[in-house]
């Protein structure tokens, strides 16, 4: 790596903070505790000398400053047991030989240097109060022409100032802005999960007024597809699925909550309210049904209806799942480590785990059975169902009003007549009642939160076992985390208030990190699930802090933060690698000296193909649909108990978000997906031959190819070259290059020849899938073009965010 080039004139206020809050200002040789020392101690020492009291050796803990001072003499490594034991002979040496842990020579040298420099201690970075760091102003050294170019580095907002100051320290320059076609495709995929239409591309290219890019960002943020795109990672985090999982795998009706999430993103519900409603919507004053619906977030866990399961054991599992999901999603903490013992690395004790658990332990759910609508639940009728229910209720009420018994004064024959009328009315009433009940039964019931009237006592569970309760605890948050609960005894409402309090630095950091990850493919902290001492320390810590503080201070405005990120030059950079040395030094682009290039999630690939082919259904929301899936997948997994009934027509072409998710065997049309079994916040991105087989052979891609081929052949494009451009514009937002065109034209001719005039051989390809085919098109020509489009759908560029 190149030597750091000190380039900054630091603002005076930043100097005061140096070594406390900001790595930006650190001198080349000064040891930084957070970056250089704590990771070494955490990895090698905390396991035996950390927060876990049960396994602490020799009564020594060095995860706290106080504890560490027992074995450190500041400014004197020669007098510091900590250092001496690192360099001792084998039988005295730490870590012990049988631990399989060993410090490198460089690491030992760093520890020595750190002690000799005074052994400065810092609170773990992510727990520190959130303050907006000063924005560096670069003044390049005039004699160096290469560096003076830095003055001209494009800067659109503080994101760029913060990124570029780190780039300068590493002797790197930002990449130039990507071209407009690349930008509109990148933005459209990032904000809507769909490719831009050719008309949208043309409009953007034609808009030469200042602010064209910003207007594009704003238009996309207002698109109804925005909420659908934002919902996917949230559903992964919420372990959302359409069945219980486990034996039986019964179908549930949680989708009204999924639609709530889409609406919440589209309406830009501030993240503090988004949080309060999902964690404690039922406990808010005058809770509206929609706020109660939001709490389904917590109830998305799996349900085990297996015979022989002990109800209380299930119940404890469910409550643990809720607590751990909240811990991961809002705090970036791996609370599950504390089920059985104090955390090995982070300052969360076993007891504190159960205090956190206690917030969710007031659920009336008893853990028995596998009812996928286990109360408390909320009936969420659709507008149509509501209308029909109201009409029926009115009709019944009208009948009841007319159904007064005959008076005694009436003549007998009239009484008989009346009697008949009454009978008819009663019959009618019964019919209406049956209809009413049928609709009520069909109304989806969403499992939501609600606390028991009689509080349940919570205990620490020995080794996490439901039947081994020990000490009683009350609801609370870990002591080492900043901020206190607003009042005690606390409920989920106070927990939610604490999570989004200004004094809580984790929620904002963890959330903006996920937003960053969503567009750059990798977070500023690479471990979105772990902001503890074993998680990654961000290279761009100032940037994360600035974004987090800005997010919080904006009123938790998600669209505002996304707009800030997306309008930065950092985001707009080209993803092209221009210097192999830079790639080698920073293969994962953690320094952000170029744009992000990574394979799109498989759900987005499907949507992209459908949209480009003109097949995508605009229908949104409602019950999940069953699209194309090879036969027998559910049947084989469930011994024939679950039969797959493929939907027809428009439903086959709905967005991936609406595909039915069976937990025991997830939808086969996606790959690298979250399991939707437990909370997942990190993306999974691999590159295997099985993925290639999927995008080359599965019905949806082949049908998209033949449909787009049909559009190309039907279009006004005058010749093959222009038809290729037609396809490229719809898929990649650009025309083909000349070498690409040459390759594809030759391929087209080759395919035509391969069919050798045998239309029967080509026929099955052009009739694959349900969408109608234009029979006027010559079969061989259509098939040859289908193969060409299939190739385009499988280009690396098509598969990638570029």
């Amino acid at each position: 790596m190149r030597p750091l080039v000190p380039l900054l004139v630091i603002l005076p206020s930043l100097l005061l903070l140096a070594g406390v809050d900001s790595p930006t200002a650190r001198a080349e040789h000064a040891i930084d505790f957070t970056r250089d020392i704590r990771p070494i101690l955490s990895e090698n020492c905390f396991f035996c000398h950390g927060p876990d009291e049960q396994t602490r050796e020799a009564g020594l803990r060095i995860d706290t400053h106080e504890g560490a001072l027992e074995v450190i003499t500041a400014f004197d490594s020669g007098q510091s047991e900590l250092y001496l034991r690192l360099i001792a002979e084998e039988d005295e040496r730490m870590p012990p030989v049988d631990s399989h842990r060993r410090l490198s020579t460089e690491e030992i040298a760093k520890i020595r240097q750190w002690i000799d420099q005074g052994a400065a201690w810092q609170q773990h970075w992510s727990f520190r109060p959130l303050r907006s760091p000063p924005i560096p102003i670069p003044i390049p050294k005039p004699p160096d022409p290469q560096q003076s170019a830095a003055r001209n580095w494009p800067r659109h907002n503080p994101v760029d100032a913060l990124v570029q100051s780190r780039l300068a320290q590493h002797g790197l320059s930002p990449a130039p802005q990507a071209d407009r076609r690349t930008l509109i495709r990148r933005l459209s995929l990032d904000l809507t999960g769909l490719p831009p239409t050719p008309a949208e591309v043309d409009a953007f290219l034609a808009d030469r007024d200042p602010g064209a890019y910003e207007r594009l960002v704003d238009r996309l943020l207002m698109s109804p597809a925005f909420g659908q795109r934002m919902a996917w990672p949230w559903l992964d985090a919420a372990r959302y699925a359409d069945t219980n999982g486990y034996q039986g795998d019964r179908e549930r009706t949680m989708w009204p909550w999924r639609d709530w999430v889409v609406d919440a993103f589209n309406q830009n519900l501030p993240f503090d309210r988004f949080t309060r409603e999902q964690i404690a919507g039922d406990l808010l004053p005058d809770a509206a049904p929609r706020q109660v619906l939001a709490t389904a977030f917590l109830r998305n866990h799996m349900i085990n209806g297996e015979g022989g399961r002990i109800a209380e054991e299930n119940r404890v599992e469910y409550v643990m799942d809720m607590a751990e999901t909240v811990g991961t999603v809002w705090l970036g903490l791996t609370l599950n480590c504390c089920r059985c013992h104090d955390h090995k690395y982070d300052p969360v004790t076993n007891e504190e785990y159960y205090q956190f658990f206690a917030f969710f332990n007031q659920t009336p759910v008893d853990g028995g059975g596998g009812n996928p609508q286990t109360a408390p639940n909320l009936a969420v009728a659709s507008a149509d169902q509501r209308r029909r229910l109201n009409r029926l209720r009115q009709q019944i009420a009208d009948l009841d009003a007319n159904l007064s018994p005959p008076s005694e004064a009436d003549k007998p024959d009239e009484a008989d007549k009346q009697d008949e009328a009454v009978k008819a009315a009663q019959k009618r009433r019964a019919q209406l009642q049956t209809q009413l009940e049928a609709i009520q039964k069909a109304v989806p019931k969403v499992m939501v939160m609600g606390d028991r009237a009689e509080p349940r006592e919570t205990f620490v569970l020995e080794r996490g076992l439901y039947n081994k309760p020990t000490t009683a605890v009350s609801a609370g948050v870990p002591e080492a985390l900043p901020g206190r609960l607003p009042r005690e005894p606390a409920t989920r409402k106070e927990l939610a208030d604490w999570l989004v309090a200004d004094s809580n630095p984790l929620t904002a950091r963890v959330t903006v990190n996920r937003l960053w990850q969503q567009v750059f493919g990798i977070g500023l902290v690479k471990t979105p699930e772990d902001f503890g001492t074993q998680g990654e320390i961000p290279e761009h810590m100032d940037l994360l802090n600035w974004l987090a503080a800005d997010f919080r201070d904006s009123g938790w405005d998600i669209k505002h933060t996304l707009r800030t990120i997306l309008t930065s030059h950092t985001y707009r950079q080209s993803s092209r690698v221009t210097d192999p040395a830079v790639l080698e030094a920073d293969p994962e682009n953690r320094l952000l000296a170029r744009g992000a290039r990574y394979r799109l999630p498989s759900w987005m690939l499907r949507d992209q193909a459908l949209a480009a082919a003109g097949l995508l259904s605009p229908a949104a929301g409602g019950a999940a649909i069953n699209t194309y899936q090879p036969e027998g997948v559910w049947e084989e997994a469930s011994f024939g108990k679950k039969v797959y009934h493929r939907d027809e027509g428009e439903k086959l072409y709905r967005r991936s978000l609406y595909v039915f998710w069976r937990r025991i065997v997830g939808p086969t049309m996606f790959f690298d997906s979250a399991s939707r079994q437990t909370c997942t916040v990190a993306p999974n991105r691999t590159n295997t031959p099985l993925h290639a087989l999927q995008t080359l052979n599965s019905t949806i891609y082949v049908e998209a190819a033949r449909h787009l081929a049909q559009l190309a052949l039907q279009s006004s494009a005058a010749d093959d070259s222009r038809r290729i451009d037609f396809v490229f514009r719809r898929v990649l937002a650009r025309p083909a290059t000349s070498p690409e065109r040459t390759i594809l034209l030759a391929g087209l001719q080759r395919t035509r020849d391969q069919y050798q005039g045998d239309a029967a051989a080509a026929a099955p390809l052009v009739s694959l899938g349900e969408s109608p085919r234009d029979d006027a098109l010559p079969v061989i020509e259509h098939a040859a073009w289908t193969q060409l489009v299939l190739a385009v759908l499988n280009l690396d560029e098509t598969l990638n965010h570029e």
Binding site: N336, V577, V633, T678, Q694, L696, I743
Partner: protein, 484 residues
């Protein structure tokens, strides 16, 4: 450094050092596509530091018996259980042990003798039930571990625990760990393959959850690839109707040509990987149907596996495919057969279950032996726990006899791959209730499996949620006594 990242960096270096006047990356790509001329055996993927020591086994076939086979009726012969038939379980055997809710407290439950007689077999004198005549015949090739015990009393958690070391879904399974650590000996087929089967008309089958072969927090390319019992063995492997293999070749060439342009222009090493993976998909399209085509198997071989061998999706068929897979370099084959959960069908369905699994399992071991593959292929047979030596049901209603879940003792057998043949290891008390002699915990068993493959179970770790995870959590001891 993160080993995966290291691998990627390696590709990056190769990519750029192969740069020539005609454009960056072409030479590197050629070397990637030609597959390195490494001396045999080839290895694709895996961590450079592994194996830790010379492996005794190179590959594994795990014949997982889903639902928990009854150890006291099949392999764990207890004359005293015969004698005590119909009498209540003595309290000192069960203490405050926890059983499933179907049994609740075990006090007063009646002991049940094995449903069929046992006999001793081979030089080793192994006791095997008459329910398993074929297994009995090969007893001298097997190593019975009779003192296994687990912590889980229900199927899904116990199977997870056995295969991934954790009761909840979310950890990598054994096959995922092995392919992550050791890579594969083939690039024509997946390294980790799963096949499932169930005895026909069984009433006590357990569902196969895909997390039984999941990769947990390891990258998903290490998860098991499920071969299906019908249709294409691998989803999406077949070309769509109307696209011939020759046409596909042309299409892939066009895609690769354009991707190469992209590689030259963008320099992203992932593009080189993508080109290579598309090539591999083409090879798999050829090798998978070839794998499933049994026409080159001799009549004699087919007969060994029994009449069901020709039925795709049967256990017998899967056993033969498993042999064909390991022959072709597959690292880990996981067969799962359901139907062992005999709560009330011990005198009926247990017989069907043994009929379907006994002959093919024994045939597989002998087939591997005859081909010289058994020496470095490890075969494991067994389930997630045992079944209660006491009765579930009414002692006077023999047709409805059953046994409940029993985590405190059960038997598995192993063959080949560096395991001592013809021995029994460990033992239970005289009623088969508790593992008392050399108990083998699930984590010990896992540590031993890894050891046989040349891996120190304490070193094969992966960092997730800030901590180094491993298959055996923080436990596990290698059972040295069963190593050959």
């Amino acid at each position: 450094m993160d080993p995966l990242l290291e691998n990627r960096l390696h590709l990056t270096r190769r990519h750029f050092f192969g740069r020539s006047a005609t454009g960056i990356g072409t030479a590197a790509l050629a070397s990637l596509l030609a597959r390195d001329g490494v001396a045999a055996p080839p290895r694709f993927g895996g961590l450079p530091s592994l194996p830790d020591f010379a492996p005794r086994a190179k590959r594994v076939i795990y014949l997982f018996q889903n639902g928990a086979p009854t150890h006291v009726d099949l392999f764990d012969w207890k004359p005293n259980l015969q004698k005590m038939h119909g009498r209540p379980v003595p309290g000192e055997y069960i203490g405050d042990r926890r059983f499933s809710t179907m049994t609740g407290k075990a006090d007063g439950k009646l002991l049940l003798a094995p449903v069929e007689p046992f006999a001793q077999h081979g030089q080793s004198g192994a006791w095997v039930s008459e329910l398993m005549p074929h297994t009995a015949k090969i007893a001298d090739h097997l190593c019975f571990v009779k003192s296994l015990h687990t912590e889980q009393v229900n199927h899904a958690p116990a199977i997870n625990f056995m295969l991934s070391g954790g009761e909840m879904p979310g950890r990598p399974t054994l096959g995922a760990w092995l392919t992550y650590g050791l890579g594969s000996e083939t690039d024509q087929l997946p390294a980790f393959v799963v096949m499932t089967s169930i005895t026909k008309d069984t009433t006590c089958g357990q569902i196969f959850y895909d997390f039984y072969w999941g990769s947990g927090f390891l990258p998903s390319r290490f998860q098991g690839v499920k071969f299906r019992g019908s249709g294409d063995p691998v989803l999406y492997a077949a070309n769509p109707a109307g696209i011939s293999r020759q046409m596909r070749r042309g299409l892939l060439d066009d895609v690769a040509a354009i991707n190469r342009l992209k590689l030259d222009e963008f320099g992203d090493p992932e593009i080189a990987t993508r080109i290579a993976q598309y090539e591999m998909s083409f090879r798999m399209q050829q090798s998978i149907p070839e794998l499933a085509d049994l026409s080159d198997e001799s009549e004699r071989t087919l007969r060994m596996y029994g009449p069901a061998v020709q039925q795709p999706g049967s256990f017998a068929h899967n056993c033969l495919i498993a042999r064909r897979l390991v022959e072709r370099g597959c690292r880990f084959v996981q067969l799962m057969h359901a139907g062992w959960d005999q709560h009330n069908s011990l005198t009926t369905e247990l017989y069907n279950q043994c009929r379907d699994t006994d002959q093919p399992s024994a045939a597989l071991v002998m087939d591997l032996k005859q081909r010289g593959l058994l020496d470095d292929t490890l075969v494991v047979w067994g389930g997630e726990f045992g079944r209660t030596p006491f009765l579930q049901g009414d002692i006077n209603n023999r047709p409805r006899w059953g046994r409940d879940h029993h985590p405190y003792a059960f038997t598995k057998w192993m063959a080949g791959g560096g395991v001592k043949p013809g021995i029994s290891y460990g033992g239970t008390d005289d009623l088969g209730i508790n593992a008392v002699e050399n108990p083998v915990h699930v984590h010990d068993f896992q540590a031993t499996l890894l050891h046989l493959l040349g891996i120190d179970h304490e070193r094969l770790t992966y960092r997730f949620q800030g901590r180094q995870f491993r298959l055996t959590d923080v436990h596990g001891h290698v059972v040295d006594e069963i190593l050959a």
